[in-house]
Assembly symmetry: C2
C-alpha cells in the first residue's frame, strides 16, 4: 500500500531532509520510525529536499508498506515513534503511481524576518533577526520583479541535468505581527534560491541596493551577482500543490 503524508518538522539540529551518512536527517528519522512501526524497510520520497536547518509545516512524503489497520492508526503509531521535532500531520492512502516530487505542480515557502533593534530569545530558532529597519514597499518592489518566468541563475544552482529557468507564481512581503514574511510560490526552485533572494532583497529593504541593481542582478544570470544568502532557520516549506 502506498501512503501520502503531510509532515511538519523543526529543522534545528538536522542536516536537512535528505539522508546523509552519519548525520541526523529528517528522511532517516522518518524511515526509522516507519520501520519500527511496520517491521518493514522502506524508502520515503519527499516533495522538497529542504536544506540543513530549514523547517517545514507542509512537506509531503510518500512511502510503501503493508499495513492492515486504518491510516489514522498508522499516523499515531509513526508519531509515537518519531522524535518530538518531527510529526506526521495527515496521512492517506494514495495511488501506486503517486510521486511527491515529480507530480508536484508548485511549492510554497515562507521566510520570517524579525525586524527589531533587539533580538528575541523566544523566536531565535524560527526567524532571521535583522536589526536595521527594512522598507516593506521596497521589499515588495523587488519581490514583484521576480514574479513570472525568469532565468534565476543569479540566485541558485539547478539540480544536475536541469536548467535555471523557474516560474514564480507568487512573491510578496507582508507585515505579520512584528515579522516581515516573504511568501513565494513557484513551480520549482533552484538550490538556495529562496534564501539567496531573501538575502538580496534585504539589501534592497535596507536601502543599500536600489531596485534597479536588484533587477540588473536578476537579469545578469550570474551567481556571483547575488547578495548574501539568508540563514536557514527563517525558512519554511509550507505547502506543495498537486493537480
Amino acid at each position: 500500500m502506498r501512503y501520502c503524508a503531510l509532515v511538519e518538522y523543526d529543522g534545528t539540529g538536522y542536516f536537512g531532509f535528505q539522508r546523509q551518512r552519519q548525520k541526523p536527517t529528517i528522511q532517516e528519522e522518518l524511515e526509522q520510525a516507519i520501520e519500527a512501526v511496520s517491521g518493514q524497510e522502506t524508502t520515503i520520497i519527499g516533495a522538497g529536499r529542504t536544506d540543513s536547518g530549514v523547517h517545514a509545516s507542509g512537506q509531503v512524503i510518500a512511502f510503501e508498506i503493508a499495513w492492515q489497520h486504518a491510516a489514522s492508526d498508522l499516523l499515531k503509531a509513526i508519531n509515537a515513534s518519531l522524535s518530538r521535532a518531527i510529526a506526521i500531520r495527515e496521512i492517506k492512502e494514495t495511488e501506486p503511481s503517486f510521486h511527491p516530487r515529480f507530480d508536484a505542480t508548485a511549492r510554497r515557502y515562507e521566510y520570517y524576518i524579525y525586524n527589531k533593534p533587539v533580538r528575541s530569545p523566544l523566536r531565535r530558532h524560527h526567524c532571521w533577526h535583522v536589526i536595521k529597519p527594512l522598507d516593506l514597499d521596497l521589499l515588495n518592489r523587488a519581490a514583484s520583479m521576480v514574479q513570472g518566468e525568469h532565468d534565476f541563475a543569479t540566485f541558485g544552482r539547478p539540480p544536475v541535468g536541469e536548467n535555471t529557468v523557474r516560474k514564480v507564481l507568487l512573491a510578496e512581503w507582508n507585515d505579520r505581527k512584528g515579522f516581515l514574511v516573504f511568501t513565494i510560490e513557484a513551480t520549482a526552485f533552484l538550490n538556495r534560491m529562496v534564501r539567496s533572494l531573501v538575502g538580496t532583497m534585504k539589501a534592497v529593504g535596507e536601502g543599500r541596493w536600489s531596485t534597479e541593481s536588484f533587477l540588473a542582478a536578476l537579469e545578469a544570470c550570474d551567481r556571483s551577482r547575488a547578495g548574501q544568502t539568508a540563514p536557514a532557520h527563517g525558512l519554511y516549506l509550507v505547502s506543495v500543490s498537486y493537480e
Copy 2:
C-alpha cells in the same frame, strides 16, 4: 547607578529564574553577563521567580553597577555577553529605592494551549499540546470564577510568611490563531498557581469537571482538591505593572 531592565527568555533548559547551586538559571546567566561587561559583581533582583522551564517576555529586573556610558550601550554589551536564550529588551536608569518585586502592583501571565489532534513540532517548546477539544465557553466560565479576591490555597502554596489570599484583576481565555490562550493578571501569585489553575480548568474545558466542581474546589481552600498542574513550557511572564 541602579538600572531597571525588561528581560525576555526562553526557559527551556533552565532551572527557573532564581539562582541555584550547580544548575543553569536565568539569574546566574544575567549576573555573569553583567559582571563580564562591568567587571563588577552584582546581585540582580527579579519581579517574578519563574519556575523551571517557564518563559518570560516581560520579566523586570534591577541591579546596581558603576557605568560611565549610555544605558543603550549597556544593553548592547550585556546582550552580546548573554546566551542566545536570554536578552535584555529595554534598560533605563532608575531610583536607588526601586525594587522590582516589592514595588510591583500586578503581574500578568499567559498560558498557551495547542488544542489540536496532532502535535506541532515547531511549537513544541512553547505550548502545551492538548488533544481533546476544549470548550472555550466552559473555560471562560471557570476563569470568571477566579476573578476578584479569593483564598487560592487550592491552587498553590504561598512564599514563607505570606497567606494564600490573592486578588485576580483579569482572567480570561481567548482563541488566538489556533492556540487557546489564558491571560491572568493578579496583584501577586502563589507558587504554581497559574499552572494549577490551567490544569484544573482544562478538565472543565474537556467536560470532565463541571464548573460547579471547579468552584467547589476553589472554595475548599485545599491543595489536594486541585486538578493536574499544567506543564511549565506553556507559561509566560508577560508583564509587570508599577505605580
